[in-house]
Symmetry: C2
Subunit: 343 residues, 2 copies
């Protein structure tokens, strides 16, 4: 198995990515090769520092350009030799089984959708972000912003794909519960588009539990929550900031007195446990579901652990044949209620 | 000043509300009278228990019916003598200066909009929820779900109203920063409706700082974040659940060993500080801005402290003449760019 990764897609440069690759090589026993895509002259010394120079499971694919964080998708046209375009090329031309895109998310989505195309009969992809829940199991929120709007059938397709992902890669059991994000639980809530999506989801080959509210993302009520990309993006960004704000407040509160400072010292193990539970890194990057190839999207601020997890999830997705499974669900769906016909 | 409150609108019955009223009478020095609306035979003994029987600043307005939490807005028709309808009547007929609605939020909004009507030239209202930020100042998110959709001019009107509220009731300075919730900061992000809202906000009499992302609600980047009610509702419900999930994890993590248990004991002061910062109760209920009367919406699970704060915010809104100030901003707006003309 060959997993390709954008080695230039980190705010702090290649070192955290290379460190994540080292962790992966150390922990993974599938024998997968990691293909680092980026500037060879930059990557060589970083690999040497990490003791990975000449490693039999590491290769470099040279790319002279980098899509910077602030650059718009349209700039891809002038960056034909950027690491993200080369990364997509590795999968497209069959030299890699999966890709891990880090950094400029909009550019990564644009390059991947354009380069790999979609699983038939789809015409769009959705980012599936697993978040931790009170009950311990992850909940996949889809779409986190690949498309800001979503028609009813897109929401239904997201549900089908994320269910397969939840079941086979996140191991959440045979029938992950799928909720439709809404402003109330009763059927009939929300606008016309959501009411149509509700009906499509009832007929879809998923364990649809009806409308759910924002709180149900975290309370363990479902394994999959479906929403449009605008809502998913704003909720997840708000959540991420809220979690880190609470952590910052906790640190401040512990500085209040000597007693609380000693309390903090004795609490270190508890903090470690908490951090592990909150950490999105735990679950690895977010798959871009619907494209014709395995693509995991990671943060531009990914820690080595997050990079490791993204590679692990990429490998596991290839191993279980994620896209083949999704494709067969889409065929089932097409047989039952023609995709694209109902809405 | 007379402040009316729905005394039946709590999942745990009237006691937490009456306790909140007691706190208000104890702490408030405006001399305001609190009018409890609900079943007299239920309220009398609760007032007696709280030592408020015959209190000179407490009155009861009898209402025989209650809108239960699960009942739909349409049921208001059969509940002419419900506490929420009577509550609105108190303000409408000038017997109270402000109302605090607790419990069934959808019914409260429906009854209030129908009963009080809107501040001219508006045709809708928005729920403004103040949330705590990393920087300490509150950030008002509007709309939290009075209307699931919003046209560009509605978003603009929300911004104008919430700015006045932030400035005059939350005391956030002369020019609260207003952000438009979007999936990226660059102008031109989002759909047509958001781009139009962006333009309207640039011309509005508010300190518009441009598009903001979900994280900017909590990181202290603005004092007001404007969004449609679907987005606001799902984000705030997700945030509320996430905060309480993190707290639950922290409790669990502290149970991990004797060391962490002692750590927890020594950390109690830090927890109190943290809880105070997180607590939405701190800021009181959320005003329904745009209706022709002061209306504060509270949770059906409001603690006595939250009830106290809702009454305090209601009193302060009356004291500063909130709706008069909003009305004059709307006049300014109408003079500059006619309300309702641009979108």
């Amino acid at each position: 198995m060959r997993l390709a990764i954008d080695a230039m897609g980190n705010d702090a440069g290649p070192p955290p990515i290379v460190e994540g690759v080292r962790l992966f090589l150390e922990r993974d026993d599938s024998g997968a090769t990691v293909v680092l895509v980026g500037r060879e002259e930059v990557l060589r010394p970083v690999l040497a520092d990490a003791g990975l120079e000449g490693h039999e499971r590491v290769e470099i694919v040279h790319a002279t350009q980098v899509m910077e964080m602030h650059e718009k998708v349209a700039h891809l046209r002038e960056k034909r030799d950027s690491s993200i375009i080369r990364l997509v090329g590795e999968v497209k031309e069959g030299r890699a089984d999966a890709m891990v895109a880090l950094g400029n998310t909009a550019a990564a989505i644009g390059a991947t959708c354009l380069g790999l195309g979609f699983l038939k009969p789809l015409h769009r992809a959705g980012i599936a972000v697993p978040v931790p829940t009170r009950e311990g199991h992850p909940c996949v929120v889809i779409d986190m912003g690949a498309n800001t709007c979503a028609k009813p059938r897109h929401l239904r397709d997201y549900a089908v794909m994320a269910s397969v992902y939840s079941r086979r890669v996140l191991h959440t059991g045979d029938a992950p519960r799928v909720g439709l994000l809404n402003v109330g639980e009763e059927a009939g809530k929300g606008n016309k588009s959501l009411r149509e999506a509700y009906e499509l989801l009832q007929q879809a080959p998923v364990n649809f539990v009806g409308n759910v509210e924002g709180g149900d993302i975290y309370n363990g009520a479902c394994e999959v929550v479906v929403c449009d990309g605008f809502t998913g993006n704003t909720i997840l960004k708000a959540s991420e900031e809220l979690a880190s704000t609470v952590a910052a407040w906790l640190r401040e509160a512990y500085g209040a007195s000597w007693v609380t400072k000693i309390g903090a010292l004795l609490s270190r193990r508890a903090f470690r446990i908490l951090k592990k539970r909150i950490s999105y890194a735990e679950y690895g990057g977010a798959p871009l579901l619907g494209v014709d190839g395995v693509c995991i999207i990671g943060h531009g601020r990914s820690s080595p652990d997050a990079v490791y997890n993204a590679l692990r999830v990429a490998g596991e997705s290839v191993h279980v044949g994620l896209n083949g499974l999704i494709r067969s669900e889409l065929v089932t769906l097409a047989a039952g209620s023609p995709v694209g016909s109902a809405a």
